[in-house]
């Protein structure tokens, strides 16, 4: 078991000072090397859960048990440092863990080759397209070869074609590095394409309403009947969450 959450809850104060619960209780177990997609409508607490897992926020209740090792985080908008070029951005987490000099550069060059950005290593973020910026963010998240990679809707702002290319790249990279992944998305097709297991979260306070491993083999064909069946099944769950009245009619 790599990650275990039990009874994790989170509340915020609204503008009038009263408490409202945004998350939980959440109970979840994640195996080493598993690719998990957290799927749910906007505002259901997916990002809050990810921020709690990364330590950016603290939960009000519950326990989180995590295996030893580093973790990487890929943000929705990349969060690249605009004053650094691509290579420096990617080398930055390595410096944070105390790595210096040529070792740093070799590792950065290796991951940049993997994401196809080696030729652009001296470019600055504003000189890159949205897809290239997200590839840089992905490289920065993976350069330390983390045991756990957290991704917060990293492809949400990209066009469909670029998104599909990056999904394939992400899946291949994480497979090669045996990284445990928690990927937040509200895109059902993206989740069905990427995940070993999909966890659907319901409306506020965010709770797990469906937790299901996928039997789909790799490589996945988006046009196959099996893929479409799984996709439709999750779409129905999703629609019931958004409009519960559809559950009686379906």
């Amino acid at each position: 078991m790599f990650l275990e959450l039990s009874d994790v809850q989170k509340s915020y104060l609204d503008s009038s000072g009263s408490k409202f619960q945004v998350l939980g209780p959440i109970d979840l177990k994640v195996e080493t090397g598993e690719f998990i997609c957290l799927l749910g409508p906007t505002g259901c607490g997916k990002t809050t859960l990810l921020r709690i897992l990364s330590g950016l926020e603290k939960s009000d209740r519950g326990e989180i048990g995590r295996g030893a090792g580093r973790f990487g985080y890929v943000f929705q908008q990349g969060a690249l440092f605009p004053w650094m070029n691509v290579e420096s951005n990617v080398m930055f987490p390595l410096k944070a863990i105390g790595m210096h000099g040529s070792e740093c550069r070799v590792k950065a060059e290796r991951i940049l080759k993997m994401v196809g950005l080696y030729e652009f290593r001296k470019s600055f973020p504003h000189e890159l397209s949205g897809g290239m910026q997200q590839r840089t963010a992905l490289a920065r998240g993976l350069v330390t070869e983390p045991e756990l990679l957290l991704l917060d809707e990293p492809f949400a702002s990209l066009d469909a074609r670029t998104g599909i290319n990056l999904q394939e790249m992400l899946r291949n990279l994480c497979g090669r590095l045996s990284t445990t992944v928690i990927f937040v998305t509200h895109n059902i097709e993206e989740a069905v394409y990427l995940a070993d297991r999909i966890i659907v979260m319901g409306h506020r306070p965010g709770r797990i309403v469906r937790n299901e491993s996928l039997d789909l083999k790799w490589p996945r064909d988006r046009l196959s009947n099996e893929f479409t069946e799984v996709l439709l099944s999750f779409r129905r769950t999703f629609e019931e969450l958004v409009d519960p009245s559809t559950s009686s009619s379906s």
């Binding site: 000072g17 921020r51 990364s54 330590g55 950016l56 973790f71 990487g72 985080y73 943000f75 929705q76 908008q77 969060a79 690249l80 440092f81 930055f92 987490p93 944070a96 863990i97």
Partner: protein, 365 residues
Amino acid sequence: MRGEIVHGDGNIKISGRFTVKDLDYVSSALESESSERVTVDLSDCKSIDTCIAARMWSIAEDRIAKGASLDFQGMTPDIEALFKRFSALDDKPVPPAPPHTIRYNFEDIGDKVQATWESLSGLISFTGQSFKALFSGKVRGSITAYYMEQSGVMAVPIVVTLNWLMGVVLGYQAGYQMSQFGGELFMPALLAYSICWEIAPMMTAVLVAGRSGSAFAAEIGTMKVRQEIDALEVMGFNLYGYIVTPKMIALFVVMPLLITVANFAGMAGGLAAGGIFLKMPAVVYIAEVRKALIPFDLYWGLIKGLFYSTIISVTGSYMGMKVRGGPASVGKATTSAVVVSIFLVILVDALMSLIFIHLRPGLSL
């Protein structure tokens, strides 16, 4: 094709299709009926858009409020669904307006005092963490030099100009008043004391708070909005060491230097005022200033500079770190950084003035 409305004796029959273009036509037909009970027959009405439905609904509500009625009959499912949306809106509870009672006013004051205290305690805690990082971390040389250039070198022209002008104004006004009693010769000493004890440190602090304090808040606030601060935190960087201490060190170095420059600029302004308005020779002015000032007067400005630099760098960074949400909050943080910095600078200045009287040789009460 435009729809048709036939009305009379409390009965209105609406036929055909209606869009926003027919708004006036529909309104005038519905409002023209003066009967207490009006029935609207929609059985031949093919379609209406949201705008027409909203107007019909509001006219019906107005009539009900006046004790009359307006009933819709023969609605198609589409039209009924439109009306249901408005009825759902009406059913939503309206939050009660805050009561204007004495108790409410006291609660309001209490909330504001609590919020101010939370902000202040947050700032004190932030200052403590920043000093801890300052004494425990390594200095980021290149970025510190960058802030020294931005906050120090780039500020020299405006600091010199404003302090020189302050010197001219003070020199002229003090000289004019003193000349009424034949005391022009005391003007250089008065001016030197005012400039070195108060005007130069205060003017420099206000300018640096406006230029650099706001820039620090905007820079950190933007990083916060773009999740760059989160990215640094996730990578394990000490945010205080990485973000705040370069700014603190830069201001520790440049503020005393800027105050020293401001001292000389202010006294040069007094020299110009003395020469132009009082016809005082430069050698006399300089001799009088040298007679009045002791080294402690100049050192005091440098000590004040260290306190002011802490206030400006820490407050600017703290306000930037407090940014939540979108770019609009960056603007608010920038304004707060300047206002709070200047307030704290004046507060500390007042306290330091009390101490100064007891510390300066020859000034004890």
